[in-house]
Amino acid sequence: MTPESLSSPTIYRQLTKLAIVGAFVLAIGALVAPERTWSNLLLVGFYLVTLGLGGALFISLNNVCGASWNICFRRIPEAFSGLLVPTGLALLGVLALRYQQYGWHHHGEGDAGTFWFKELWATPSSWMIRSVAYVVVWILLSRALVAVSRRQDKSGGVGLSILSRRLSAIFLIAYAITFSLASYDWILLLEPMWFSTIWGVYNFAGMVQATLAAMIVLTIFLRKRGPLRNVVTDEHLHDLGKLLLGFSCFWMYIWFSQYMLIWYTNIPEETFYYMARTQGSWGPLMVVNIVLNWVVPFFVLLPRPSKRNETIMVRIAFVVLIGRWVDLYLMIFPSTVGGSPLFGFLEIAGMALLIGVFGRLFFQSFAKAPPVPTGDPLLSESLHYHC
């Protein structure tokens, strides 16, 4: 199967249909329940942007380490980063649509000592300028990374590997700063009076976890049905599984670090965030979040054979992807919609939009280049990888 036949009209059409139906339901929802619809759009937009960013992060980390195992399926994270242009711009649109949703710091509220800075930081104009800057930086750097990798297909050579390693180092520094700030600006600022210094790391953990899960699903799909057959081996799958297991534990560690300090000190200006998320039906949802993101992946992926089993890996990856949705839902919805947790047509439409847009953009982007980076000097090392 060639990449052309993969982007066969049927897959394309169905994913596009899914996205259109989702968008249509959400468009109606915007008239009926604008706040809830917007929250769904923010969730989907942030989810998609972090998947795109996660792809670029995965490539960069491996480039900087001089890793070779990932090269044979590197086109998958590269195609992920292709998501950044459309979804990044769409997310900016969503943010601009309802910027007043972010309860801006009103004069006289909050800590007197740092108040002037918060006020300056959280004005709509400076907030919007920053948001645009983050997206532009991510798009430019990730496009550069992908462009170098594709140029290597034609010319080969070590020089371009060194260039992408340098680019990756720049990306990692830029990413660490901008993504941390972006997660504060776009999600945490929904609760402007609340603060958590671990917020950026917490979002990083969830982002990497979801990216790995999505990569596992697509790697297995492209190995079974597409051009990565006989390219990706159980060894690669095993390592992806190890990373997913590790990042599930990391997510849990960070989640608990944030929760425990607030629980322990028990100061009202911090605890109200968790009060809103533990009372009523939100409490069980918090437990579901932990079960999906850590308990299930941890105990299932712990034994060696399950990390080398396609069926188990795909199932766990889907559990984690749903868990990521629940995690973001718990970050966003209690602050915007409030009340009891709602799950209805709008949320399902949001998920349809998420899957449709992601799949469509992924296959479109994946078909643009040869499925395996043939020019990379470390490719044969990657093909013979043994972990």
Binding site: F256, Y259, M260, W263, Y264, T265, N266, L302, P303, R304, P305, H386
Partner: protein, 178 residues
């Protein structure tokens, strides 16, 4: 195991891997394979079963976590309850960090000491390499001549295509392989 061993020495890891697979395919008994470094794929070539060390690690970790959770509960809310910040005595979140640490500690120590015990390694143990160069640039495949039909010349002929460097028969005492 009989007391007669056959030591086949190779210069390249690829030769060793191929020879090991071939020997196993023919049904000869492999005592062990000695290499200067970890050779990928050798476990499969030798037909080794999956290590049980992971289970030791998991069980030790669970004992560490659950044991410490129980202990903290017993200390904090049964024998010596102390009011800390108005929290309930049996507060789970306050017990998690120590339970986590002791799970890691016991899993780590458990794995290391189980490995040392199973491999009979202890401080001051003398090293007895099958041949000196196995710690440098030689790969040694050790076969058991238990089978009555074991024909050294036949085995030698079989191993020759894999660039056999040396073939040595060795008789060992009941105490050890060396």
């Amino acid at each position: 195991m009989s007391d007669r061993l056959l030591l086949a020495t190779f210069e390249q890891e690829d030769d060793l891997l191929a020879a090991t697979s071939e020997v196993r395919r023919r049904g000869h008994k492999i005592v062990d394979v000695y290499t200067p470094y970890a050779v990928h794929g050798l476990d499969r070539a030798m037909g080794l079963k999956a290590s049980r060390l992971t289970w030791v690690c998991f069980i030790c970790g669970m004992i560490g976590a659950l044991g410490m959770l129980w202990f903290e509960h017993w200390v904090g809310s049964v024998t010596w309850p102390i009011d800390v910040g108005g929290k309930p005595w049996n507060s789970l979140p306050s017990n998690v960090p120590v339970a986590f640490e002791s799970a890691v500690l016991l899993a780590g120590f458990g794995s290391v000491f189980a490995l040392l015990a199973v491999s009979r390694l202890f401080p001051g143990k003398q090293a007895h390499p099958v041949i000196e160069r196995v710690t440098d640039d030689r790969f040694v495949l050790v076969l058991d001549e238990a089978d009555a039909q074991f024909d050294v010349s036949q085995v030698k002929a079989m191993l020759m295509p894999f660039n056999l460097v040396e073939l040595e028969e060795r008789v060992v005492s009941a105490g050890g392989t060396h």
